[in-house]
């Protein structure tokens, strides 16, 4: 694909201690630098239904062309309630954010007479955590999900410094293969570019909540496709579903090549 | 203009290529006129070699100009010239307008512009142009564009030179 693919890709993981271009023998002071971030690949995805929400992520953890792990999960339960968080980007920052959120959710519970934090409160808190690091950002994209007071599925997605929409979203994808998955979700979840057959292309197909079985199918389709075409996605698929009956985790296989 | 100095207030940045084709140009100082007159000479030469009634059609002229510009692009010193080619095809009785940039990307368009005018005028033209526009409506549209440029450009705008290409040839027009 295109000439850019002729240039060799870097094999280095991005985080490094390096002496930059100091090969001159003039005796000038060497300048050292430290890059505190790396991209560990992977992709996450979330879709809401009427009374449930699904978060999924692959379990491959990469650095450059190396695979560090085939079993590293990136969808987390935030304590013993119906809140789940998926994080992708720089693995260390991702885990740190998940840990911070878990502690906050647990603290809230013990400080408020065992009342669980609501999903919108957790969403606002996650913004505070991420924006608190505005000038040394956590290099991670988050998708937070849970059931609200009325038992409806809620989903929030964030950039690395905390931007999110309070209304929440019907679906979200982030990470290495988000550019592959998002247009598919546009089409299959929000029915973009679909029209009612009888209307001769004048009436858009109305958006409706999908049943859980359909959502799970879409998630698996999205990830098998992303695995096929993106080298940083694969190995395993972790799908966590939240319903009124509780939180369920399903692990399935993805291609390991 | 050279730098911030105005050298001439009424510089005609167009060349007549043949009786029904006109080319407007902008770009690097030197390159523009050199390239435009090279094209003009060659299109006129074509007219002389053949019957003077058998001139290159606007689409043929645009195709020729594009090719020359494309050759120049991969030469040691490419011409930095952006062009608009307008013409009236006397065989099909159709008006043509071609947009070409210095990379020799070419597109037939209903209306177009180069430089800052793109940002100020294209949206006006998007809204008010229609395929069956009359000359009077066209003049009105150009006046709107002109007013916008005077209003929004932070320079002492010296005005427009307007030429019309019709079946009976090219004429200058007061806005």
């Amino acid at each position: 694909m295109s000439l850019s693919s002729v240039e060799p890709l870097s094999f280095d993981p991005a985080y490094s201690f390096e002496a930059s271009q100091s090969r001159d023998h003039s005796g000038a002071p060497r300048q050292h630098s430290f890059n505190p971030y790396t991209d560990n690949g992977g992709t996450i995805l979330g879709i809401t239904g009427d009374d449930f929400v699904v978060l999924a992520g692959d379990t491959r953890h990469t650095a450059g062309y190396n695979i560090n792990s085939r079993t590293e999960r990136k969808v987390y339960r935030l304590g013993d309630n119906n809140l789940i968080l998926a994080t992708v980007g720089f693995g260390a920052d991702s885990k740190d954010v998940a840990e911070t959120m878990t502690r906050a959710v647990n603290d809230f519970k013990f400080n408020h007479n065992l009342k669980n934090m609501t999903v919108n409160a957790a969403a606002q808190y996650l913004f505070t955590v991420l924006y608190g690091n505005r000038f040394f950002p956590k290099y991670t994209h988050c998708i937070l999900a849970g059931l609200d007071k009325d038992g409806k599925g809620r989903l929030y997605s964030y950039d690395s410094v905390g931007s999110y929409s309070k209304e929440g979203e019907r679906r979200a994808a982030a990470g290495a293969a988000s550019s592959l998955i998002v247009p598919f979700l546009d089409n299959q979840v929000e029915f973009k570019n679909q029209y009612l057959p009888a209307s001769n292309g004048t009436q858009e197909r109305p958006v409706e909540d999908l049943p859980k079985e359909t959502v799970i199918k879409l998630v698996k389709d999205a990830f098998t496709s992303a695995t096929e075409r993106h080298i940083e996605v694969g190995d395993g698929l972790q799908i966590i579903t939240v319903t009124k009956d509780g939180v369920f985790e399903e692990m399935t296989e993805l291609k390991k090549d | 203009m050279r730098g911030v100095t105005v050298l001439k207030e009424e510089d005609d940045k167009t060349r007549t290529l043949n009786p029904h084709t006109l080319m407007a140009f902008s770009g690097e100082a030197g390159d523009t006129v050199q390239f435009a007159e090279y094209i003009q000479a060659n299109v006129q030469l074509y007219g002389m070699r053949n019957n003077s009634k058998w001139q290159l059609s606007p689409s043929a002229v645009a195709s020729f100009v594009r090719r020359e510009l494309a050759k120049s692009l991969r030469s040691r010193k490419p011409y930095y010239v952006n062009l608009l080619i307008g013409g009236f095809d006397t065989n099909t009785n159709e008006p043509h307008l071609y947009w070409l940039d210095y990379l020799a990307a070419s597109a037939r368009t209903p209306y177009s512009a180069h430089g800052y005018a793109q940002y100020y005028c294209l949206s006006i033209l998007d809204k008010h142009h229609n395929p069956n526009i009359t000359l009077e409506e066209g003049q009105k549209l150009l006046r709107m564009c002109h007013e916008e440029l005077v209003k929004r450009l932070p320079i002492d705008y010296k005005g427009l030179l307007v030429k019309v290409i019709r079946a009976d040839g090219i004429t200058e027009l007061e806005l």
């Binding site: 000439l3 598919f184 570019n193 | 990379l103 793109q118």
Partner: protein, 205 residues
């Protein structure tokens, strides 16, 4: 944004079906973020072969004209139309000729072989390396998005009507997520005795 492949924008996709192929392109021509034209098709026809070209607009035109010349010369010499497989090798060698100063295009070929009736698609990089695919080929600034939609929507042995719907949905939903592509699309559905060309409206932003 000085990458020549993403100055003008554009997307092309080709797909194989049951005894049919389809190829589609968007219609945008831009200069960086500014749209200059919304009627700049990127698919060119050479007898039985359809060639899609994305990349630098000037090279899209130059290369399409070069192959018009070469295919016409082939037709005069051989007294027959060029076959898709032959065209693939012609495109490959012509691009490799410019190995160290390439045309900045990513071509896609689609067609049905007039003798074997076999559907054929393939793609190239800018220096002529052929990508023979059994399923689909994508190219252009929306190629990531197209990989995602095509890999999810495509299935083997689709009839022409299904192939049209699939390639159209893959195209429209992909270009809607790419700022440099879109503004409508052309879709060709090619069967052994008929070619149907359709204009898709799509979002005008």
């Amino acid at each position: 944004m000085s990458n020549p492949f993403s100055i003008n924008g554009g997307a092309v996709v080709a797909m194989v079906g049951k005894d049919c192929v389809a190829i589609a392109c968007d219609l945008r021509l831009g200069m960086q973020a500014l749209t200059v034209s919304n009627d700049f098709p990127k698919i060119f026809n050479y007898g039985d072969v359809y060639l899609g070209l994305t990349g630098l607009a000037t090279d899209v035109t130059t290369v399409s004209e070069m192959f018009r010349y070469k295919v016409n010369m082939y037709r005069l010499r051989e007294e027959r139309d060029i076959e898709p497989e032959t065209m693939a090798n012609l495109v490959s060698s012509s691009l490799y000729e410019k190995r160290f100063g390439p045309y900045f295009v990513s071509p896609v070929i689609a067609g049905i072989n007039p003798h074997s009736q076999k559907p054929f698609v393939c793609g190239f990089d800018s220096i002529g390396c052929i990508d023979f695919a059994k399923d689909f080929i994508v190219s252009g600034t929306a190629s990531d998005q197209l990989f995602g939609t095509c890999e999810s929507l495509w299935e083997p042995d689709m009839e022409p009507e299904d192939l049209f719907e699939t390639i159209s949905q893959a195209m429209l939903n992909s270009v809607d997520r790419d700022a440099l592509s879109g503004w409508g699309a052309h879709v060709y559905v090619i069967t052994k005795d008929k070619v149907v060309k359709r204009l898709l409206k799509g979002r005008q932003d």
